[in-house]
């Protein structure tokens, strides 16, 4: 593919430098091997151009069997050596390449684990990550970039060698080659601007096509609806429409590409004809310079052909490198994201005595909408607080702020009288255990999931106690490997699968094990049936008796046992009081919500 040849600005050089710096950090050996490989490749080409000259000269002139054997042997031997070196390099590069590839992917993974959390909820970065991953895995952009650069080196060395050979015949041969190359470049450049425009137009169509086609392959809930609601014709017609649309475009594109490649072939043959003609005439007559022999004839012709071929490779290398750099933009943009500044250095000591929101306003990055506006309230040690509100009232957001996943847009959150961002992160986060709605477990053993520690460093009795409290004891006894069972089948097919409710209990156990002085539960029981839910609530109060606890639940009944209820309405506190007092305020949002659910149980 021949894309725009405009290049050479600093930005791209910087990008290449960056990728190489990353690669060098991962495996210097890989880079060294690549350079060696390039040089060997260039040497092989030079040998193939120069050696036959001596053979033919010998054949034409002396036909001495001994020296013929000698030269023929040299050619055969050089072929052998280069093939062997080639294979050796292939092996080493293949191993290093795989390692490099995986480590490069890992580097981005580690980055993702370390960037400021706010990026992870921003759709822009989600999309960026998808594109970065696509570039690395599907387009092998890092691999191609590094290899292209290595090939570039090989091409350059070859090119200079060939020019050196050609110039020994005088400037004409070189000029002929140069002119035809310029012709080729002109033709290709005209095509490349067309190409850029074409792909700009076609990529969105292809993306849409991919989306609709993907619906057929998708494993989520749509498969049931597709059948019960007979959606297939509607979906297929969309797929067919997009197929036709981009196939029509590609038809034009390939015809054009065919003409261009055809023209390039014509120019290449023109160059061959001119070269053979000119060098041939130099054999016939000394009119244009020193008369040469047949051996030199072959050498010059080959040098010229090799020169053109290498130049073509070189432009492909440049174009390819540039293209890969474009592909890598998302990758590099992600790698450039700042990692969480571990702000604050005051070690957090003791328990959480108070949590105080002071005029906290919050908008998600890139959005103008105030999810929380001018929020002020205080929670004291040991209190059990329930946060209640309609969908979208900002309940979960509030929790994320306490967990330092986001900065308030304005205002402050004080814990024990100090801004939470003044504390050293690790010592701070030790004091908070949260179970989110969308909690995640890892493909580790259950024990590791709960403790996030190695087996050897864990007090099993303590874990067992917690397992009992969350109601997982029975399930774990059922498992042949008990707490050492591997969670999920993603890592190993022998892993165990837990139901949504059971997994949720593991997540709760994890939060309890952390033994933090504040526990936060965001819809902790949504996947549980009423009995399991009641169990958890019942035990929970015991488990967190001396801790500060915050609950979020759509089950209004869960707020009854809380000391105070924080009612969020449109991002601000509309009430913060005990259940009894709130129920007395007949028209409050809380009262309405509570009654809406209570009504259904009242007759019991």
């Amino acid at each position: 593919m021949y894309v725009s040849m405009r290049q050479g600005n600093n930005k791209e050089v910087k990008k290449i430098k960056k990728v190489f710096a990353l690669a060098w950090g991962i495996s210097p050996l890989y880079i060294i091997l690549l350079i060696m490989n390039s040089l060997i490749g260039a040497m092989q080409i030079v040998a193939n151009v120069v050696l036959p000259k001596y053979l033919i000269d010998e054949l034409v002139t002396s036909r001495n069997t001994g020296s013929l054997l000698y030269i023929g042997g040299a050619i055969v031997l050089s072929n052998l050596i280069f093939s062997f070196l080639g294979k050796l390099m292939t092996r080493n590069l293949a191993i290093q390449n795989r390692y490099m590839n995986e480590k490069m992917n890992q580097a981005l993974g580690i980055k993702i684990m370390n960037v400021d959390y706010s990026y992870l909820e921003n759709p822009y970065y989600l999309d960026l990550k998808e594109r970065a991953a696509f570039a690395c895995t599907n387009q092998s952009a890092v691999y191609n970039l590094i290899n292209n650069s290595a090939d570039l080196l090989k091409s350059l060395v070859t090119l200079f060698s060939m020019v050196a050979v050609m110039l020994t015949l005088g400037p004409v041969l070189f000029l002929v080659s140069a002119v035809t190359i310029i012709l080729t470049v002109v033709v290709l450049t005209s095509f490349s601007s067309y190409q850029v425009r074409f792909f700009e137009k076609i990529i969105p169509v292809n993306r849409k096509y991919g989306y609709y086609l993907g619906l057929g392959y998708s494993e989520d809930e749509i498969q049931k609806d597709a059948r019960l609601y007979g959606m297939e014709p509607m979906l297929l017609s969309r797929v067919v429409n997009y197929t036709n649309e981009f196939m029509g475009e590609f038809n034009k594109y390939y015809k054009k590409q065919g003409k261009i490649r055809g023209a390039v072939n014509i120019i290449a043959n023109l160059q061959a004809a001119l070269t053979y003609g000119y060098v041939g005439i130099r054999v016939v007559t000394k009119q244009f310079g020193k008369q040469i022999g047949l051996g030199s004839f072959m050498m010059y012709v080959n040098a010229s052909i090799q020169f053109t071929a290498t130049f073509r490779t070189l432009t492909d290398n440049i174009v390819g490198t540039k293209q890969m750099l474009d592909y890598l933009d998302p990758f590099l943009e992600l790698m450039d994201l700042p990692e969480v500044k571990q702000e604050g250095d005051i070690p957090f000591e003791g328990d959480i005595e108070s949590v105080c929101f002071e005029h906290v306003t919050f908008c998600y990055p890139g959005s103008e909408k105030e999810v929380l506006s001018d929020l002020s309230f205080q929670i004291n040690k040991g209190e059990k607080i329930s946060i209640v509100g309609l969908n979208g009232a900002g309940k979960t957001t509030l929790i994320k702020l306490i967990c330092r996943l986001y900065h308030p847009t304005s205002g402050k959150i004080l814990i024990n009288g100090k801004d939470i961002f003044d504390y050293d992160y690790d010592s701070y986060i030790k004091n908070i255990a949260a179970v989110f709605q969308d909690y995640k477990l890892f493909a580790f053993s259950l024990l590791e999931n709960i403790t996030s520690k190695d087996k050897e460093r864990v007090d099993k009795g303590e874990v067992n106690e917690i397992v009992k409290e969350v109601g997982l004891e029975e399930k774990i006894e059922e498992l042949p490997n008990g707490l050492d069972s591997l969670y999920g089948k993603a890592y190993d097919v022998n892993g165990i699968e837990l139901s949504g409710g059971q997994s949720q209990k593991v997540a709760i156990a994890r939060a309890l094990y952390k033994n933090a002085s504040m526990v936060i539960m965001d819809e902790p029981t949504s996947a549980l049936d009423p009995l399991a839910e009641a169990d958890i609530y019942h035990n929970f109060n015991n488990m967190v008796s001396n801790k500060t606890a915050i609950y979020i639940s759509h089950r209004m009944s869960s707020s009854v046992f809380c000391d105070r209820i924080l009612v969020l309405d449109g991002g601000s506190v509309s009430d913060f009081d005990s259940h009894e007092n709130l129920m007395k305020k007949g028209e409050s949002l809380y009262c309405k919500l509570f009654k809406a659910q209570a009504e259904n149980y009242s007759e019991a």
């Binding site: 072929n79 684990m113 609806d225 490649r261 047949l294 509100g389 969908n391 019991a604």
Partner: protein, 601 residues
């Protein structure tokens, strides 16, 4: 699969037959390309010979020689130039026609995936089994399209090879033999190396999967919160490093084997090279012209390259053919039960489970055993129960997405099996948990069709679920696109709104039976109450089933069926079950406890 022979010729025949059906002209183009591209390499072989012939016999008449040189290179340019142009142009112009063949395969797969029996979609084994089939149509360069491209290119290669082999073999059969030896050894070496790689495939797959788990985990933003709060990062990086080293280890093994075998092929290349140079040099000593010498030399090099390409192509077709065969197996597999001939009933439904036993395909555990119960005409039934009691499975059985392992389900006394499958689906409006809108217009999301849309009807349904104002707020109304993936101005509904949209979809379908599977789990108390309130309206005159964790929903239902781990445990109306003082009573009291205390207090 290792020992299984697969009928490559059959697969290829079928591919050709398909291509014949879809684009007959393509075959003519292959012949044209074969001739043009087959002859093209020959010019570069002959040119030096002719030219050196002139140069060698370079007599006294320099001018004459120059004239001859000019004529030769001129003739070369005209012929090679035009063949070169045609070769590239024909090839590229046909490229897309071949891509089209693959895209048509994709459409066939797409339809099949959306219409085959639902049970396969939940069967991980099934999807694994056909994974290769899906891969075979996923790119330009592999599988179906990869083979088609090769089939297009290879005849031309054969023509060139034959011409060159004849040329060389005519004069120097030994050289030809050397070349063949080189190629054959190369093939054998590659086959052995591939065989070794194949034998490592399982191990490699395992290492890959394990490494991939960490890749995915680190890339998945959803893990972000827990990673940060519970400090899993170091563990994950350590494990990830270990998995990478395991994965690379396998590459090293494979590469070492390949290198060792590669030495063998070097020897064969050495023999071929020595024969070529040796015999040609001897030839010249015995009077062969330098012109012929150079022609044969370049013929040998070209032939060797062409043969290597050709043998690689054959190996490619062989390997990719496996995937294509999988694709055809998928296309041929009978995965869509058609069912009987009965059409959808136009009356209110009664659903009877008779001795139904069910386990998911490939599992051992009975979800239900000898289940017997009936949902009567016009009845509103609530299904409640603990996690894992099989509530959602029940819906899948009722709606025909799965079939009972034993026993049968009767609709108004007619066995489920007697209905035509598509007709059967028509009788149910179902709202599942977690269904999200797709990137179509609001109207299409409700009607599930692009033509014959009854606008007034759709609006009415949206109105009834409380989305009327929302839709009116868009300039385009029902034609407003949803999601941002296709149209950046698309709208994104909140969880509650999406849920309501799905209920509107069910209403629009207006089937005889309505099933709501946990429709309010994601909703707040007020939104939930709203849906309860409208439930009567939503299901007026129809048989309906309501599944929920929230027992409060049971009160507006006529009957309640409580499932525990062993099947149907309690059945009756609310009052009856409360009186029974069993599991339902227990659950209801537990869940209602705090509410009750409050209302009493």
């Amino acid at each position: 699969m290792e020992t299984k022979k697969y009928p490559l010729s059959k697969t290829l025949k079928r591919m050709l037959a398909n291509a014949w059906i879809e684009n007959k002209k393509l075959f003519g183009r292959v012949v044209l390309y074969m001739i043009i591209a087959g002859i093209y390499p020959f010019f570069a072989v002959v040119l030096p010979k002719l030219l050196i012939g002139v140069l060698e016999t370079n007599g006294d008449n320099v001018e004459d020689s120059i004239k001859q040189v000019v004529m030769i290179v001129g003739g070369f340019f005209i012929l090679a130039g035009s063949f070169g142009f045609l070769q590239a142009y024909i090839h590229d112009a046909d490229y897309n026609k071949i891509s089209r063949l693959r895209l048509n395969c994709l459409n066939v797969t797409f339809t099949k995936l959306l219409t085959m029996d639902y049970k396969y979609r939940e069967d991980a084994q099934f999807l694994d089994q056909y994974n290769l089939a899906f891969e075979s149509t996923s790119s330009n360069d592999n599988g179906v399209e990869g083979i088609y491209h090769k089939l297009y290119d290879m005849p031309a290669g054969v023509v060139s090879i034959l011409i060159l082999a004849l040329l060389i073999g005519w004069k120097n059969p030994l050289i030809l033999l050397g070349i063949l030896l080189n190629i054959v050894v190369g093939l054998l070496v590659e086959k052995t190396a591939n065989g070794y790689q194949y034998s490592m495939r399982e191990e490699e797959g395992k290492a890959h999967r394990r490494k991939d788990y960490y890749y995915k985990t680190t890339y998945d933003f959803a893990y972000g919160k827990d990673l940060r709060l519970f400090g899993f990062e170091k563990r994950i990086i350590d494990n990830y490093n270990f998995e990478i080293s395991q994965y690379v280890k396998i590459t090293r093994l494979v590469q070492n084997k390949q290198l060792r075998l590669g030495v063998l092929s070097l020897l064969a290349a050495l023999v071929s090279d020595a024969l070529t140079y040796g015999l040609l040099i001897v030839g010249v000593i015995r009077g062969m012209s330098i012109a012929d010498f150079s022609m044969y030399l370049s013929a040998v090099i070209t032939l060797t390259t062409l043969l290597i390409t050709f043998s690689k192509d054959v190996a490619f077709v062989y390997k990719e053919g496996l995937y294509v065969e999988d694709f055809y197996r998928f296309i041929d597999a009978d995965l869509g039960t058609k069912g009987g001939d009965r059409e959808a009933l136009a009356e209110t439904l009664e659903v009877e489970f008779r001795n139904v036993t069910f386990r998911y395909p490939g599992t051992e555990k009975d979800i239900f055993k000898n289940l017997n119960f009936t949902i009567h005409k016009g009845e509103k039934l609530a299904i409640v129960g603990i996690n894992g009691a099989g509530k959602s499975t029940l819906v899948k059985l009722m709606t025909g997405l799965f079939e009972p392992t034993e026993g049968e389900i009767l609709i108004n006394g007619i066995p489920q099996k007697e209905f035509d499958k598509q007709e059967y689906f028509k009788m149910f409006s179902v709202v599942f948990q977690d269904v999200k809108p797709i990137a179509f217009t609001i109207g299409e999301n409700v009607s599930c069709a692009s033509d014959d849309i009854q606008t007034a009807q759709i609006l009415n349904c949206l109105e009834r679920v409380g989305l009327g104002d929302k839709v009116k707020s868009f300039d385009k109304g029902l034609d407003q696109m949803m999601l941002k993936i296709i149209d950046e101005n698309g709208t994104q509904f909140s969880g509650g709104e999406s849920q309501k949209l799905m209920i509107a979809r069910a209403l629009y379908k207006d089937a005889n039976m309505v099933i709501l599977d946990e429709p309010t789990a994601a909703l707040d108390a007020l939104a939930e109450a709203e849906i309860y309130k409208d439930f009567d309206d939503l299901v007026a005159g129809k048989t309906s089933v309501y599944i929920s964790h929230r027992l409060s929903s049971t009160k507006f239902c006529d009957k309640i069926a409580l499932f525990d781990g062993n099947g149907l445990a309690e059945y009756g109306n609310h009052d009856e079950l409360m009186e029974l003082r069993g599991e339902y009573y227990h659950m209801f009291s537990v869940q209602g406890k705090y509410y009750k205390e409050e209302s009493l207090g």
